[in-house]
């Protein structure tokens, strides 16, 4: 890390550094784009993966925290850029360097009103076009009179704005077209059975070929990050179960890990083992639901009944221990809420007996089916460079050959002691994305096999104070959720409530790559592509 710091200090004398979890670089906005270019292109730095982009309001200044990582060298860095202009805040965009920044910066604009210079599409992302104010600013007026529930439909834009910097440093607002008047635009969603929730694509087509997709988000934006700022740390936990409800255990695990890291709590071994087992059970159940709904999208409705049959078994296991079929509220700060049920071990063993047979059955019904293969093979191919640039982690990234499993790259809990393979396939098409998930079910079973007889005795929860206060500072933690790397960023100013909580959801990146993956394909393949990405819309919108 010292090398990186020296290297940057030599090139950018105005940068200041702070030691921490990862090296933090402070840089004035004027030099930011040059630094970003260096971070990405310098072979000694090679930060090709933008992990997170967190908008911030520090009351005097507005700004952004960036987290970068290098897929080749494995090191990480964070950068802080701020502006003290609250009336008309502007920062330079990095969406030309990392594609994923496109949506991330729009989100920050939506939340804080920070305009990104040279960003190609500065529209609001989640909120209506006619929304008043920027909700995540600390001085936002939240009264319902400012923004009542409107029943009229918002106007649809065919144009957008970009802020271009002139050579003399002046920033000019320019209009850009999204769809030209002669484009034939088909509206898909928000109420459409194949979008898996309330996602909206405005798709311009030429015959059956997709020319361009304009993504509309926010139909289930619940403002969870703002809600967290008003609650104590214990109270923020339940939101994670409702983000991506098919990775409820992993998401909650992540937030607990982040808070435990900040407080320096050591989690008892028994709790760590049970947490990992729950994570893997959740992953199996999520991938089973993926197989069911995806095959149903392609017309193979029968598969849904087969996969949900096994999923119900897993839900039974959860229900006996956690008391719920979904939204379990099981992990807590310092460990887990309740000990496992007395039948837990026997039930998991039974499940492990059934799963290999069940997977064989799925393969006979669907995977080898000639129609299924024709619809999946070679459809929606994404290259490895693109998945890294769009930061699409999880099974989608691994199906394009990117080894991005957080359980392997940054092991947490007891994952470093476990024996399992990271599945990567080189093809990058829909078939590969499907197969990766089938293989991951097998790997999760392997992890469970190693643990089911080795749950150690002991406490299930560490001693945690009744009122939780985090010291001043900021922390970032990632786990491997069912759909990719789920990250939590917490900034604390030493109070009982967090100053800022950011959930870095994998599904947002998955939705962000859809326009790229579907472009040039047939409109019927959009269903296949969207299905294999398997995004959960409440996780996109938060």
């Amino acid at each position: 890390m010292a090398n990186v710091q020296e290297h940057i200090a030599r090139l950018f004398p105005e940068a200041t550094f702070e030691e921490g979890e990862v090296l933090l670089v402070n840089i004035p906005d004027a030099k930011w784009h040059t630094l970003a270019k260096t971070l990405k292109e310098d072979s000694e730095l090679d930060f090709d993966y933008l992990v997170a982009l967190v908008g911030m309001d520090w009351t005097e200044t507005l700004g952004v925290m960036y987290y970068f990582s290098s897929t080749r060298l494995g090191h990480s860095i964070s950068v802080k850029v701020a502006t003290d202009n609250r009336e008309n805040p502007m920062l330079h965009s990095i969406s030309d360097l990392w594609n994923v920044a496109n949506l991330y910066e729009r989100e920050v604009y939506d939340y804080y009103g920070i305009i990104f210079i040279n960003h190609p599409d500065m529209r609001r992302l989640f909120l209506r076009n006619d929304w008043v104010g920027y909700p995540l600013r600390k001085d936002y007026d939240a009264s319902p009179e400012t923004n009542p529930v409107r029943l009229d439909h918002e106007a649809v834009d065919d144009t957008t704005f970009t802020y271009v910097e002139q050579p003399d440093g002046k920033v000019v607002k320019e209009e850009r077209t999204i769809f030209a008047p002669e484009d034939f635009v088909v509206n898909i969603g928000p109420q459409h059975p194949a979008t898996h929730g309330v996602l909206r694509f405005r798709t311009s087509v030429d015959g059956e070929t997709i020319k361009k997709i304009d993504l509309y988000l926010g139909y289930i934006h619940r403002g969870i990050e703002k809600l967290c700022e008003g609650l104590g740390y214990m109270q923020t936990l339940h939101f994670t179960d409702r983000l991506d409800y098919l990775s409820a255990q992993q998401n909650r695990h992540c937030l607990c890990l982040c808070i435990e890291k900040a407080m320096g709590i050591e989690v008892p071994r028994r709790a760590q083992v049970i947490r990992v087992m729950m994570d893997e059970l959740m992953r199996i159940s999520s991938h089973l639901l993926f197989m069911g709904t995806f095959c149903m999208d392609l017309g193979a409705t029968t598969m849904l009944f087969y996969t949900l049959r096994e999923r119900e078994r897993i839900l039974d296991i959860f229900e006996k221990t956690c008391g719920a079929r979904m939204t379990f509220n099981y992990n807590c700060i310092g460990g887990i809420m309740e000990d496992i049920d007395k039948d837990f071990v026997a039930d998991v063993k039974k499940l492990l007996e059934i799963m290999p047979k069940a997977i064989k059955e799925y393969d006979t019904i669907f995977t080898g089916n000639v129609i299924a293969r024709n619809r999946m093979e070679g459809v929606g191919v994404i290259s490895k460079e693109d998945v890294i640039s769009y930061a699409t982690t999880g099974p989608v990234g691994r199906a394009s050959g990117w080894a991005c499993d957080v359980r392997k790259t940054h092991p947490y809990g007891i994952y470093s002691e476990l024996d399992f393979d990271e599945i990567t396939l080189p093809e990058g098409d829909s078939m590969a994305r499907y197969l990766v998930r089938v293989e991951e079910i097998k790997q999760s079973c392997r992890i469970l096999e190693q643990l089911v007889d080795n749950i150690p005795e002991g406490d299930i929860c560490a001693k945690v104070p009744k009122i939780i206060k985090l010291p001043e500072g900021h922390w970032f933690q990632q786990v491997e959720a069912s759909r990719g790397a789920f990250g939590v960023y917490i900034e604390s100013h030493g109070d009982q409530k967090p100053w800022r909580v950011k959930f870095n959801s994998p599904c947002m990146n998955l939705a962000g790559i859809v326009p790229h993956a579907a472009k040039g394909g047939k409109i019927a393949d959009l269903i296949t592509i969207g299905g294999t990405f398997d995004y959960v819309v409440p996780d996109i919108d938060r």
């Binding site: 923004n147 409107r150 929730g197 139909y219 809600l227 339940h238 849904l304 119900e312």
Partner: protein, 207 residues
């Protein structure tokens, strides 16, 4: 809610028997009965889900809970073909006009079930800047099913309550409702400025 009340499934029927104690018209009453019998046994849901509750709705359709036993399995993707709308999940500001439009597109007779804490009152997100505090602010609701998310059994109970409500409707001579649907629509108008704009658009298209 006391446990005993969960078992009290017949209160709607007993209420109707009380109403009809003085007798109903032989022709109209029998016709009502026949129509309601048909309607209440084949209510088709609209595939409409925004979050977690939608996954439980999928489970409801699968083998273990099997809503086909009751004639509800024909989930329609188009509101034009559906009888009722199960609002499964949080409704936010951006979604509210869409929900209203979907409701308007449902063919008569239409019913709404608010499913889960979010659809009833905003649930855990009640204090958010972007969440509608219950779908009842946007469209009239017939049955509320609490839970976060409700178990599939609770959903079955909710839809069964709906079919009980349908059974006691009067096809001829008014509907047994406390609040008429038109009253609700009048109390929650779509803002005029945009209605006008919509009219202009339609005129433009006509030209």
């Amino acid at each position: 809610m006391p446990y005993a009340e969960f078992k009290d499934n017949e209160y709607i029927e007993s209420l109707v028997n009380e109403l009809r104690a003085n007798g109903t018209n032989v022709v109209v009453g029998s016709l009502d009965k026949l129509i309601n019998w048909g309607r209440s046994n084949s209510i088709w849901p609209l595939t409409f889900a925004t979050s977690c509750c939608g996954i439980e709705f999928i489970s409801l359709g699968a083998a273990r809970f099997d809503m086909a036993r009751f004639g509800w399995e024909v989930a329609r993707a188009s509101p034009r073909q559906a009888d009722f709308m199960m609002v499964a999940g949080t409704i936010v500001h951006r979604m509210a006009p869409v929900v209203r439009r979907l409701y308007d597109q449902l063919a008569e007779p239409k019913y709404v079930i608010a499913c889960g804490g979010c659809a009833i009152s905003g649930g855990p997100f009640k204090n958010s800047y972007h969440v509608v505090k219950g779908v009842g602010e946007v469209i009239p609701v017939d049955v509320y099913v609490p839970g976060c998310p409700p178990r599939p059994e609770a959903m079955i109970y909710g839809i069964m309550q709906l079919s009980r409500k349908i059974k006691v409707e009067r096809f001829f001579g008014g509907v047994n409702r406390q609040e008429k649907r038109s009253d609700f629509i009048n109390a929650h108008p779509i803002e005029e400025a945009l209605v006008k704009e919509g009219v202009e658009q339609e005129e433009g298209m006509a030209k």
